[in-house]
């Protein structure tokens, strides 16, 4: 799996170049948009990590241009700009995720993996995590090969959590997604049903805040 890293800072580029292969990813590193164009034309990549302030142009404009040309690779934007407007722009302009400098390497790796998993899920149509596999288009789900029977709401809630593995999805977001117009405690009811079917440790609760499916099972601390 090759990733195209577009970053003009020597030290950041070198650091990522050294570290990512340890995480199971190959990196092609370019320092200008012109070289990025050349690399995209020549090689196959699974995703792009894009810095915004580049010597030969603005990364966002380049991204918009690439999207118009039909480039569909998932793009993670790195930015030293931090205002919320620009965050939104990053997503509006076709970025799939963003990281604001300074960021930790582990954060970059986690975001990259999550992004790749999502894009793989979209490609194959199946979301897979910790023995669970879910096919959103056929409304089918199975745990360790055993098929699960889920209600429509439960299925929607599960998909919402799986799309954002490793990150807490807030109660408000889940209610907006799956329970429009329902009472707040009905979310608890649906989640409790879902957990019964998945096993109590599969979905972790952050009390009052939301729910999360961790990539790997955490030690139960409670």
């Amino acid at each position: 799996m090759r990733i195209l890293l577009i970053e003009d800072d020597l030290n950041i580029g070198n650091g990522i170049l050294q570290a990512l292969p340890n995480g199971g990813l190959q990196v092609a590193w370019v320092r200008t948009l012109a070289h990025a164009d050349a690399a995209l034309a020549k090689d196959e990549f699974v995703s792009i990590v894009l810095d915004l302030g580049l010597p030969d142009g603005d990364g966002l404009q380049w991204l918009v241009f690439q999207r118009e040309k039909g480039m569909h690779l998932p793009v993670l934007v790195l930015s030293a700009r931090d205002s919320l407007n620009q965050r939104l722009l990053g997503l509006e302009y076709g970025a799939d995720d963003y990281l604001i400098k300074p960021f930790a390497l582990s954060e970059l790796l986690a975001r990259l993996h999550a992004m790749l998993r999502r894009s793989t899920g979209f490609k194959t149509g199946v979301l897979v995590c910790r023995g669970l596999s879910v096919n959103p288009s056929s409304f089918s789900a199975s745990m360790n090969g055993v098929s699960l029977s889920l209600s429509r709401t439960e299925f929607q809630l599960l998909c919402a959590l799986l799309y954002r593995v490793g990150r807490v999805v807030t109660r408000s977001q889940l209610e907006d997604l799956a329970l429009v117009g329902s009472e707040s405690n009905s979310l608890d009811m649906h989640m409790s049903n879902l957990r019964k079917k998945l096993g109590s440790t599969y979905i972790r609760t952050v009390r009052g805040v939301g729910y999360v499916i961790d990539e790997t099972l955490r030690d139960a601390i409670e």
């Binding site: 800072d9 570290a19 340890n22 030293a80 400098k101 390497l105 408000s172 009390r207 009052g208 939301g210």
Partner: protein, 481 residues
Amino acid sequence: MQSNKEKGLSSRILRAILWPREMFNSSLVGRIVFGQFTLIGILIGAILLKVFLAEPDDVYTFGGIQRMQMWLHSASYLADQPTLLRSQLEGIDKFLRHDNESGDREDERITLTLHKRGELIYASPGRPGAMTPGPTGKIIQRSQAGGNWFVLTQVDNSTGLSLTLSRRKGMLHSLASWQGVKQLLFFLLCVLLLLLFPSWLAVRWGLRPVRELGEQLSRRNSSELQELRLARRYREIRPVEAAVNSWLSRMRASQRRELDFIANAAHELRTPLTAILINAEALSRMELSGSISGLLYNLLQSSQRANRVAEQMLTALRNDASADNTPLQFVNLHRLIEAQMADLSLQADAHGVHLNLHVDNAVWIKGNFYMLESMAANLIGNAIKYTSKRGQILVSLSQDDTNILFEVEDEGPGIPVESREIVFERFKRLSGDDSLGSGLGLAISKSAIVAHGGRIQLDSSPRLGGLRVKVWLPKETSMAP
């Protein structure tokens, strides 16, 4: 408060009466009223002086030339009947000496002298006695009988009679009497006193734009540097307005430069800081000897802390900037805190800390989204930072009719009572605090809370034993627009 103010005003008036100079030196209204009254006083004084010192140098001093000619004419009819002539002149004398209420006064009376071809026919009794005729129709002065006299003579050529009128030269002769002068003075004094209040009102009214200018300026807080806009631009105020505006624009420019500089500096720090972090982290993933990985750990810690300071500086700057030019919006505080806690749950997981949120209902506030977000992120982030592994953090949000109460409780070491004020100062760290905080978090939170008209209080959590942060926010904030 009101009675205090009145007391202040009355004591000021009393002081002003007892010791007026103080008022002239402390009040512009006082100065102008004083100036006005000095002017009126000088005017009245000048009029009085003119009246007192005026010399009867025209014929009206003697009651007019026509009256005199009439007397001379009637005297010339009786020129050959001395007895009748005499009694008629005595009659005139009598009229002259008793035509005013104060009676006959030497200072004021007019004295008659009648000559026929140089021969004295009649002279009024008393001083100055017979007066030698002067040039015809012209007032002259003459000393006689121990006084100075004005003298006017008219001659009837056909009979050779010459009538000479004289009047004492001296003060007050134009006025009816000294008593009249006293009455006039009293009247003028009353007018002066009655004028004092309307004049004070008028001057105060006239100076109101100055007061309004001051009020406009004093209502501003230190970050409001936009131009002054006065409803009416009076010619006298314009230079002040222009000077203040030019000063404000210089302040704005320098503030902008300062903000740009700090923002650029923090921005420029981010790229190298990222490089340090990434390389140190990449290194820490390799197999290293114990001492090297220890050193690397220190390096990572310090660079994380430097990152945090740069981030917080940017947050503080962004809050300052958005406080001035972001319109207030209705913010769902419940969602905001929920989203912040979801973001922070990564950090909480890394610390092994459990987050709990309790909210009764949807809580809305009218305010500045970014500031509220930075407040929640900082307060909850602090709680995570200071709570040890397997600890709990309780966040709750409740409201009554007017206020919203936001509480964050943790299981950390808390803050000693004596330090609960100074922790809000920028870059203040308590001794023994080895966390990676920037020292700006609480200052940022407090400034966001204060900007919303709320307050923050630190005490200890009765449930968890650590710190409890209580934040009250009014639902309808009175934030500066």
